[in-house]
Symmetry: C3
Subunit: 339 residues, 3 copies
């Protein structure tokens, strides 16, 4: 029997008021054909033809819903699984994408569970090609040293309402690993942003603490990021400074700069360009520099479907000697379908 | 594209009669913030702040459906996944909650697959706070010795129709591990109950047999349980006697008593109290006693959403010397949303 | 809240034309009770009572959809999970059944991801009892030596349009394991078929190459298969020749013949009979012969639900001495429900 899920709202009486609630089954299948080579991970890696998942956006399916509780109060949830559309395998834990419940009202939103950090929200909003396999930002920074954790478990988060364009969010993730003489590790993430018409500017901070075993291990990330939509093109960019500490001893600084342009060059064609640069300045040992760029375009077939082509190139070098430490090269021609 | 699942029935012609069939996507997201400490599992465990899943009811999603086959015959199925809403991870096998198909009619219901045992049905119906992380019953009995298996694989089950309030059910789970000189292990579970208006009283029996390797290992559970709804409060309670045998030699008796009150103290506030006591009387070795209680309340925000607070406390002791063998303490403040 | 998924199409404007798109949640739960014994796998295996999954068709659930993009172009996707309905466990990777996206039009269909091979399409169309646990074909061939891989990851596939009954399909699966001095392994599969009214006749070829480490390991499968629907009965059958090569040295030939009848003996009763014979002619070592048959019948309860009984028997022998090398015997009485 054929059953189509359709676009209607469920009306249900709740207390004095009529409450409107909905549940959605949704997802994205994004698969590409291309070539790939990563000599940063393995110096003997060969260029080869691949079928890959998540060229423009990670493949996923999920269930989400919201319920109007009356009096301005709402409940919502989101369960999102990530999978590899090229081989059908699960990508990470069952609901890696999100597993959250929230209550929202005039006071803002309080959410519990696994979710993207506030820091990640700001980085994504200013990312040249978003949450994708061919965006240069994350891989360039990881090639230099390490990038932040984008989603956290056991999280308590608060998102403020927006006042004249200003808003903020904070999330604390508890690792629940307290033991004799060892404090529990945790991640703390926050952002403050100003959004007004075409402009977004924001600041983000994320501190990732490992267990305190008589000497803190942690990494602190600071991000200043902005975007401006000129209509003919949207510019995005950011500066991220991170500092790595092991046993209370600073190990090094990892500073990164990224920039991007998103331009609708025709009614159904968009061009994306992104550039990223990341340096790891080690207190002792080798300094590393990584540089990456991506050029991509999509052809919009419908609101839900597009075809795309993209090329990502990342180069890692010894920042003292200039010696080549490997490259990542990915060419992708793919189709993305949202449901 | 937004798709809402809506409340309508699917009409389909089937044989001579019009058959009504439905498929539902459903679930519960239940997440809490709290503190937790379990010195029974590890004597050095510290109290720590946690985000947890399933405070009032295990987090789950599933697909279920039924089809009217005409002539009083119906087919039904249920596939239910359990997950940890605090970190998005899968809880147990894919469809741990249930993976069943059934045919029902005047003769009763015959079901095949993975499902809750008849014994578990009776225990759940008389459980102070149901299938939850903060109910004291299961954890108190497990602290003393061992509690029954609630769901079984490879099960053939029969549920009788109800005659004047009387009904019964039996389930046999086959472990499919027969080998030379070894009989297959299996679980057998049954219940008989009488339900009439506010009263429910029932008897349950479950025998969990391990492989017969020339000497039976098994545990037998007997349960007498009842509930009565006075309107201002519902009382529930039960007495469970279990006997553990290894190699045809009795190891000990594990007898448990539990009791609970569920009271709607205001139009949208319910209070729950549960108490459990379990003793393990070993033929040789240490006798153990465990005592647990839970006090909880929920605030009903809508038919689908509530907020709750609960505290569970379990104490394990050497029943001969009174020596402290650890405690479990859980405080939870959470939100539960059904879809 | 009860939500039923209903049979309506989603209408959405897309470019100049009205596009019709749909998303379906679908599945099959097929569970049986029976007896099973496999002395080919283990010579000491005992006959035992089992509850099993997929007697007539593998248990599964999935999400699939299609979107009309206008101008004769369509986008489609399918995500299908296989699970064991007897114990709720996942069968293989998350979307083992299929994880594909496709674009189709006058030019045919191009698909990417994990999917059944074209060779498998032809085998399934001529299989006495389809994709089931009690079909004799696959298990008889595997008992003799080895059968083809039915679904492949990282696949690029093309299915031609149909011209006067003729059509073809090809799929290439990339294993993405190229390394220094080693070519990437890959599977190539194709079929050509002619379908006209009651007749289907087709040819299939599948080459499964392992990594080239200075000496090719591969297995080649050739299939000639046909079906003819006489109305009172449908006849199906095929001849498969496979050749196994290790390090450029031929190891042996595995030739198989299968035949089947599907007959609707009453308005709601169908009878199925299948027979398979497979010989492995080794260049050096023991020659093996396997013979299998299945007799089954289903009783149609509705379009979506049937009950069935089936018996499968497979015998493996030393083809030189006639020595018994074991048997597989499966008796299944089950229920299958599609949603």
């Amino acid at each position: 029997m054929k059953k189509h899920l359709i676009a209607l709202a469920v009306l249900a009486a709740s207390g004095a008021a009529m409450a409107q609630s909905s549940v959605q089954l949704y997802g994205i299948v994004d698969t590409f054909v291309g070539t790939s080579q990563d000599t940063i991970k393995s110096s003997t890696a060969k260029q080869q033809t691949v079928v890959g998942s998540g060229g423009l956006k990670s493949s996923r399916w999920g269930i989400k819903g919201s319920e109007d509780l009356g009096g301005g109060l709402k409940a919502g949830f989101k369960l999102e699984q990530r999978f590899k559309s090229d081989d059908g395998s699960l990508d990470g834990v069952n609901f890696k994408g999100e597993s959250s419940i929230n209550l929202s009202g005039n006071f803002g939103t309080v959410a519990l569970g696994r979710m993207a950090t506030p820091y990640d929200d700001l980085r994504n909003k200013t990312n040249p090609i978003g949450d994708t396999d061919i965006s240069p930002v994350k891989d360039t920074i990881k090639a230099a040293k390490a990038d932040y954790t984008d989603k956290t478990d056991n999280t308590i988060a608060y998102v403020s309402p927006t006042y004249n364009g200003f808003s903020g969010a904070i999330g604390v993730s508890l690792n629940e690993d307290k033991a004799t003489g060892v404090e529990s590790s945790q991640h703390t993430s926050l952002k403050a942003q100003y959004a007004n018409g075409p402009l977004l500017v924001g600041y983000g901070y994320q501190k990732e603490e490992a267990k305190d075993k008589g000497g803190k291990d942690n990494t602190k990330y600071n991000l200043l990021a902005a975007s401006y939509d000129f209509g003919v093109a949207k510019l995005v960019g950011g500066y991220q400074a991170s500092e790595i500490t092991v046993g209370n001893v600073k190990q090094g600084d990892n500073d990164s700069l990224y920039f991007g342009v998103q331009a609708p060059v025709a009614s159904n064609i968009n061009v994306f360009f992104g550039l990223a640069n990341s340096k790891y300045d080690a207190v002792t040992g080798t300094d590393v520099k990584a540089t990456g760029y991506t050029l991509a375009a999509n052809y919009v077939l419908s609101k839900r479907t597009d075809a795309y082509v993209g090329y990502k190139h990342i180069k890692k070098e010894n920042d003292n000697t200039g010696a080549d430490l490997g490259k990542i090269k990915t060419l992708a021609v793919g189709v993305r379908h949202a449901f």
